[in-house]
Structure formats: structure tokens, C-alpha cells
Symmetry: C2
Subunit: 431 residues, 2 copies
Amino acid sequence: MRIINTKEKEFKKEFENILQRAKSDIKGVSKIVENIIDEIVEDGNLALKKHIEKFDKWIVKSDDELLISQDSMKKAYDNLDEDLKKSLHTAYDRIKAYHEKQLPKSWLDFEENGTILGQKVTAVDRAGLYIPGGKAAYPSSLLMNAIPAMVAGVKEIIVCTPTPNNEVNELLLAACYLCKVSKVYKVGGASAIAAMAYGTQTIKKVDVITGPGNIFVATAKKLVFGEVNIDMIAGPSEIGVLADSSAKANYIAIDLLSQAEHDEMASSILITTDENLAKNTSLEVDRYLENLSRKEIAKKSIDERGVIIVASNMEEAIELMNEIAPEHLEVLTQNPFELLPYIKHAGAIFLGENTPEPIGDYIAGPNHTLPTGGTAKFYSPLNVENFLKKSSIISFSKKAIEELGEPCALLADTEGLTAHAKSVRIRLEDK
Amino acid sequence: MRIINTKEKEFKKEFENILQRAKSDIKGVSKIVENIIDEIVEDGNLALKKHIEKFDKWIVKSDDELLISQDSMKKAYDNLDEDLKKSLHTAYDRIKAYHEKQLPKSWLDFEENGTILGQKVTAVDRAGLYIPGGKAAYPSSLLMNAIPAMVAGVKEIIVCTPTPNNEVNELLLAACYLCKVSKVYKVGGASAIAAMAYGTQTIKKVDVITGPGNIFVATAKKLVFGEVNIDMIAGPSEIGVLADSSAKANYIAIDLLSQAEHDEMASSILITTDENLAKNTSLEVDRYLENLSRKEIAKKSIDERGVIIVASNMEEAIELMNEIAPEHLEVLTQNPFELLPYIKHAGAIFLGENTPEPIGDYIAGPNHTLPTGGTAKFYSPLNVENFLKKSSIISFSKKAIEELGEPCALLADTEGLTAHAKSVRIRLEDK
């Protein structure tokens, strides 16, 4: 693995490349995706079926075939191996418990003059989850998207997932059963996003679309934003590790590889104050690489996008990591908690050597749908609030408007809005 | 004003038109806006100056002229008429107090096996506010955008506002001074959004862009979403009124007009159970229209986009209003609070006859930047959270990973991610 020192002359340029790691080609595929969306809007199911034939290579004979039956979901769940079922339940319970802690409450606040102000929290009516299928079918993604929607109180949760060759991932179906998903459709890619955003004869329009996907899915989500709400636009997975000399090189190495194995475009970045740790981690990465089932992918990712940075001190290391704003951040230092005040930008923060990143992918509880590519500077992890929205509540008493009406009307006057001013003043005139 | 009854045959079709009220032509202007953004990305300030010359009709001689000086902001504030200054301060104080109630806290949660889970709340580093200028310069928008950013703890708040003929709205400058805005730039339209999203020689890239604007601004915000976060994509203003026979026709009429005077594209909708109230409101609208300074705009809006719906009962009225999901909703009924449980979709809810909508535009406290065009089904009012983001916190103890490591690794196995599984298992092997 490449090692660079912040003192090297070319460091600044190299670091700039790391910051640009996630430049995606949304613009390059926009036209294609726009056309797909237009087709769905115009032709509905007909277009869906055409796209399935083209991309997933099977022929949909009737509209009913787009829907996966509740029966097959139950069967998938019933047929689960006992250990796996138990693990799935453990994950489900922990994810649910964590997200329940995020649930905001409606509130009211009262003033002595009779004013009541507040906020009403309401779940969206319908949520649409996109779950990738085929090779990269991750049932854990279903839990991570469905549970916050469920906890938010969304009545109708639908799922779209591609089924290449009409094959469905059984564990995904079992997870849908467990999460009481309303409907699962065999629809994938940009078509699925368009179908959920605009509706078709079979798929009802939703209010919010969440879930991971490739560049076509990400682009479609961006294009339908405004027609529906979306969670975020996500790119390849990534991990940053902050480590001092107390950290174990083999732990760091396998944790870096756990992101690298996702995707050739994944980024794995260690920043450490210890040059020896840097060298040893690099060696350990090579050692572990040999035995990975996804060795080719992981190796390409590590070679092209992996980097170890040796920093002069922890302060510099943290500053660089904040600039990177990684999706996952492991803090492997003597006392990781004391660094929390300085860590500003990261999707999820894993503290200490017993908290490997994969524990957060499956079972810890917090969401694994996290902002990538530096967007942790402004996006949050997927959470209950993605499936809620708020309404302001305002109630003025006669006394309140008598106190505040004239200042309000004056401001309206200066903005030239006479009906605004009048609307307030006729209340003041009515004694 | 047009009155329709839900029992009429054509009602369904008419109602469908109301639901489609906000179909904007973002696609139609996308190409133009894309070009503007590309120019800013490539040429920075040079392009900014070119666009100012073209759209705002004045020549920028040096980069420094893009920035409004702190001195002129202070002067604008000092020169304010005393009553106006007092009103501005009242608005500022009330808006600040309301938004402070929204501020979420970082939290930690502990388990008996030593697990610590939580959420760290962090303000974004830089926020960019877009405030329209020229004819529709609303200083109140500055308060409504700057105060939540300030309450969130954003260190650098910048403002872009167009200055047609190089003229600046003095009250806007005074409001910027009051809110301690870091920098105000004389840059407007899609160029301003691009400059804040990508940065130029003079304007630093921000993390979040909020604020209202025309179709070009809205389109630019959509196009830069992902590069930065944005609040929402907003369209013309609108008001819905739910009223029973206890409501006063003249109050409703002037409140409807207060939205209609904003914009010819604004929508004003009354749904009532009382046919007489419907007729009287229509007459009152005509009467008030005569004396409005913005009569032409308001009349066009009322004629083309205003409607009174007579419903069979309040249940039906609320159901229709939830479908409409108006930006502003006034509830003028005998006991408005008891209807709150049934109101699902509205940006802000104004309860009772002493709470005219304009009171929420200026002084009540809640934000006046609200979801329009039915997007209250999934967007919230602008709020403190738009300027914050969260990071998940995960810390496992040795005992915790011993309990949960194997179920986690099993799930990783079934997803074919061996490095994930290994990353957990090497911790279990290290006794």
C-alpha cells in the first residue's frame, strides 16, 4: 500500500487527489437516465417491462409478475437456517432500538400573552426503498432502510429490487418479511426510482426514496429530487482510520480491506502518527489480501485508491481527516473518546480496537447508509427523520396580536406587501 | 373568485388541476442553468462579472466590488428608522427563540456489556444563503435563513443577493448586520448558486445552500445538490384555509389576498363547509382587491389560481386539504386545535382568527421558508437541522464483540464479504 508523509513536497497535490476521490460522472449518464425516467412517466408498466427484459434478461408476462408474493417472503423467512435467523433478529432488534432513540416528538410552547408555538411531527405516507440485487444483494441494506421508516411510523413501505434472470435473493425476502414491508417489486435501476417517484399502473407514487445503488440509480435519485424527497446521493464505500502507536497493524489492515472488498472504486485511508505502524499495516494488507474471496476487487481498490498518510502529530492527522470527511472513521488511539470533540466530519465514528467497521454494517444498531465522498460535511447517516416531516404550529391570542401586530405590519409595509399589512391590521381594528 | 362544490361532476378533474398547481418547468431551463454553472466552474469571478453585467446591468470593475463592506452594513443598520429597528429586533428575538428550541443535542447511550452508541451533532462549516433582490427583496427572508444557521452554530454564513443597477436594499443590509453575516456578495441568480457550490477566487465554497429564488435559482439548487446540501426546491407561495361557519369572510378574504399579492403564480384556496361563507368570501375578495398596491398581480393570481371549494363536511374538507398539502394552512373553525391530529400535510399551520398568515411571515418565530406545491408531504420548514449534520458513534467493549461478533460475521458470510467477517473474527481470536 502506498505510504506518503505530510512533509513530502508532493503531499499537497496527492492529498488533493484524495479529496477528489468521489468525483462521479452523474453528468455523463444524465441524458440516459433522463430518457429512462421519461419512458416510465409516459408508458408506466410497459416501459418497466421493457427495461427488465433489457437489463435483467427475463420476460415479464403480466403486470402481476412485477410483484413478489407475501407467501414467497414468508417461505423465505421460514426456510432460514436457525443461526442465520437468530442473527437477523439480533440485527433487527438492535437497529430498531437505536433508531427509536432518534424519534422526535411534536411539541408546543406557551407564552404569557396566550401565544402557542410548536412543531407537529408526521410520518410521510409512503416510502420507497431501493435495494440493489444480483451480485451485490445486501439484505442488511433492507434492514437499514426499512427499520427507520417503520420506526418513523410510515404506513406503506415498498421495496424495489432488480432480479437478474428473475432470481431473487432469499435472505433479502426473509428480511422484507421480518420488516413487514408492504410490497416488493422486481424492478431495478433508474426505472425503479422513476416508478416510485411518479407511479405506474402497479407501483404507487411514494413521498420519499432511500437506498443505495450504482451511478444510474444515484443519478435518477438526483433527477427526481423535488418530485419526492431522497436521502442522499451516495458513491463508493470508504474508510478512514486514525491511529497512533497503540494500534494493531493487523486490525487496521483487515479493516481497510473490508471496505476495499466492496468495490474497486472504494477508498481505504489510514492516517497515523507512527511510521512503523504505517509500514507494518502495509505488510499486513498484502498478507490478508492473499486469502480474500474478493481478492481481485480489493487489490485493485487498495492499489489505486488506498493510501497511508504519516502525519507529524495527531492534531494534523485529525485536521486532514476532517478535510477527507470519510464515510466510516475508525479511531484506534490510546483514548479515542477524548478525540471526539475535534472530529467534525465523518458518517460514523468507530471508537477503539473492539469496534471494527463491519460491526456497524450489520449489528451495532446505527445505520450503515452513510454519506460518502466527503459529503459527511453536510449529510447525516440515514435516520428516522428521513421518513418524517414537520409542520410549524402557530396560534395567536387577541392579546398576542395586539402586542405584535403593528411591528409585523410595519415590516410588511417596508416590503411593499399591503395585503399582508392589512390582514394583520383588520384584526387590530376589530375590538 | 371561483366556487366549486365537491358534489359537482367536474370536481374531480378540477381538483386534479389544483394538485398539479406547482408543475414547474425545471426541465425547460435546465440546459441554460447548466451552462451558467459550467461557466462559473471554469471561469470563476470572470464569469460572475459577465453575468452581473448581463442580468443586473452594471459593470464590476474589480473583484473587490463583488463584496459589500461591513461598514455599509453597519451604516444601513444605524440609519434605520427607530420603529423599524425595534420591529426588526422583535422579529429577530422571536425567530431566534423559536429556532433555539429546535436545536438537537449530541447523545450517548450505554449498555451493560460496555457498548456505547450515540450521535454527535455538528454544525456545517459554511452556509450560503441566497436572498432575492431587486423588486422582491425581502429582508425578512434574510432573518429566516440566517438565524437558524446562526443558532446551529455555523461559523461562516455568507449571503449572495442580486443588485440590479448596483442598488442594494438598505433594510436587507441592516438585517445582515443584525445577524452578523460574515460576507455579503452582490451576486444573483443561478451564478450565485454555482459560485457558492463550487467556489470562485472571491467566494469560498460552502456546505449548505438555502433560500428562495426564481425558477433559475431553484433549478441551479437542484443541479448542485450532492455537491452541497440544499434546503428544498421551492415554487410560488400558497395558502389553504379550512373554515366552518364560525369564520369571518373578510378575514379569510384578506388572508387569501396576502398570498395572491406575492406572485401571479401564487395559489389561494379556501375549503369550507359553509356555502354562504364561500359566497361572502368571494365578495370580500373583490372588495379588498380594489385598494391593494399590488392589485394587478393579486387579481391575476386569484382569477387564474384561486378557488373556493365547498365540502360536504369537515372530514372531507381536511382530506382534500391533506391532498393539497399547502405551504400555509389557516384553520378558522370553532375549535381549531381539535383538528390538529387529522392535519397531516402542511408547511405551517395557523390556528384561529387571531393568527393571520402574515404574522408567520415576519414575527411569530417559526420559519417562513416552507415547502410549496404539495411538497409538505415530505419536506419540513427550513430549520436548524438544515445547518447541522450528525455522525453515529459506536464503541464496543471486548465483552460486546464477544457477544455480537459471531452473529455479525455470519451475516457478512452470507453476503459473501469475507474481509468483513474476518475483521470481526480476528478480534474474537485475540484472547
